[in-house]
Amino acid sequence: MDTSMIKVDENGFYGQFGGAFIPEMLYPNIEELRENYEQIMASAAFKEEFDRLLKDYVGRPTPLFYANRLSEKYGAKIYLKREDLCHTGAHKINNTVGQIILAKKLNKKRIIAETGAGQHGVATATVCALMGMECTVYMGAVDMERQKPNVERMRILGAKVVPANSGSKTLKDATNEAMRQWINNPVDTHYIIGSVVGPHPYPEMVARFQSVISAEMKIQLKEKEGRENPDLVIACVGGGSNAAGAFYHYYNEPEVRLIAVEAAGLGVSSGKSAATTMLGKPGILHGSRTLLMQTADGQVVEPHSISAGLDYPGIGPVHAHLFDSGRGEFVAVEDEHAMQAGIEVSRLEGIIPAIESAHAFHALNQIEYKSTDVIVINLSGRGDKDLETYIKWGNY
């Protein structure tokens, strides 16, 4: 296997996946971003501001915590990368901090974003408040109903939350709506996409902002284990931004197993699932060629997961490539098992994980590993936002 292929090419492809499949109306916006993002990100001024905000505002580096009781139970050395301790409660803010600085350097005046569960919307509203930028977040009308606290968090932070009433009124429709609004406002507006999806350069750019996760993991593992590389990294995947961040610096370290955990929903074959690599075929959605849950006629299928953050019919193109090339190992965890894992982590480690992250923990029951293995689980977010779902589930 040629792992050196886990790298974006100049046209934005990871193997056969990626690219920029966009209407011409978006071409100038995407081109402006593509031409400028690498140079801006490489500049000293950008780096200084990004690093400073990650440290003083987000609270980085996040700890790498040795989970003693989980390790005992599962018979391996298990570390948790504590992205749940980031300001706003999840890894999402790593990306929004990066993109808001980028937007300022591009002289943009307004920010738009999509959100599913509301975590990316909150992270976007937060950095817009910090920078004094006007912020509009598009959110599926159904999601607004089921994630009310996050809607109010965004409003408190000064953002305008606009319901997406088309299609299934969830994340994919919110993304459609944000893209439409970007077509309508091409000059003064920057669109902060929340995951490693969308047209090139978004997947690579978002992954690079999130790559701070694996950059820190390397330093922290060196301190704790005397080596930079774990044997396994486990992360949940919806669009896949936390996984991309946790895998990034290990893509081309073939001895590190990369475990991507998808949401099986009620079961991969139940018709109520979000296990994209198991159910999807190559297709085009939101500007990139990727694996996509779709009908034989190429219409996008509605996914299902108990976790709103994994409830997406596609997957970032880099993950489609990890799957396709065999570099990544993909497992699917059902709703019920994710909830059980969430309770287990709460009881064993005193951490209530986001239900998204809970999926990653249950993978410990579904994969093989050795007792000497060092495993890092990316704890991408905290469970506060999911209390209602935990309560409704009730089995604790």
């Binding site: 499949f21 209407p23 071409y27 459609n176 439409r180 309508n184 406002n185 085009i284 939101h286």
Partner: protein, 257 residues
């Protein structure tokens, strides 16, 4: 000779192209709507292939896509409905749609079928030029299908020239920074954009679309190009109609008479 080429050879101004969604308002309306469009005097028919996630479209066309999908419209069914197209329709016919359903159908099978039923051209707004040139152009050419790219007010001059080089048939000028269905009076900035592109002396004729809804906006657009495309406003007519044939006739006549 390809019907699009022939049309632009014979008619240099005030060309009217009408867009509608296949299988809307009822599944079996596709061909009757096309017959009514031709009978009313339009020059080109654009058949929209419905898609679940039309990111360049406003609420009107989103809704017609949803209705058509609920009615059961698919590409397979559309080609079935168009089987005897050329017994009924003589003006150019273009398929317009998002890339994914076409890719799932298979691009070669799709092009072959287009040629077989008598489709003359394609507009696939999310097909990037690079993919077109490297993967699909030879197919389009082999099946004598004209490919139209879009430009917008933000498109740079270099890019417009590149598009002109790689388009055949006509260039689709998106009238403003907007998704489909925006209803605004044509502004001086838009006129300046129409004139700027006109002055470039492009190889391809130009049709202006998005936001064209009535005689006034059609005439303004046509005065600065070879004609215009009407979509959302026509979908409104279909949606509200009790007598498709009559209402289509009256609407199109209200534009061109």
């Amino acid at each position: 000779m390809n019907r699009i080429d022939k049309l632009f050879q014979n008619k240099k101004e005030s060309i009217l192209s009408i867009y509608f969604t296949a299988g809307f308002p009822q599944l079996e309306d596709t061909l009757p709507v096309m017959e009514a469009i031709e009978a009313a005097g339009a020059d080109i028919i654009e058949i929209g292939v419905p898609y679940s996630d039309p990111i360049a479209d406003g609420p009107t066309i989103q809704e017609s896509n949803n209705v058509a999908l609920k009615n059961g419209m698919t590409l397979h069914l559309l080609f079935e409905q168009l089987k005897n197209l050329r017994e009924k329709i003589s003006i150019p016919v273009i398929l317009m749609g998002y890339l994914n359903p076409v890719v799932q159908y298979g691009m070669e099978a799709f092009c072959k079928k287009c040629k077989e039923v008598g489709v003359d051209g394609l507009i696939l707004p999310d097909l990037p030029m690079q993919q077109y040139l490297t993967e699909y152009k030879s197919l389009f050419d082999a099946y004598d299908l004209r490919n139209t790219f879009l430009i917008s007010p933000q498109t740079s001059e270099t890019r417009i020239r590149q598009i002109d080089q790689n388009t055949d048939g006509f260039i689709y000028m998106v009238s403003s920074a907007s998704i489909t269905g925006a209803k605004k009076a044509v502004s001086p900035e838009q006129i300046a954009y129409f004139e700027r592109v006109k002055a470039m002396g492009l190889t391809n004729p130009r049709l202006i679309g998005f936001g064209i809804s009535d005689k006034a906006s059609f005439n303004t657009a046509a005065a600065h190009s070879h004609g215009a495309i009407i979509g959302s406003a026509f979908i409104h007519v279909l949606r509200d109609s009790k007598d498709l044939k009559k209402d289509i006739y009256h609407y199109i006549q209200s534009i061109i008479a």
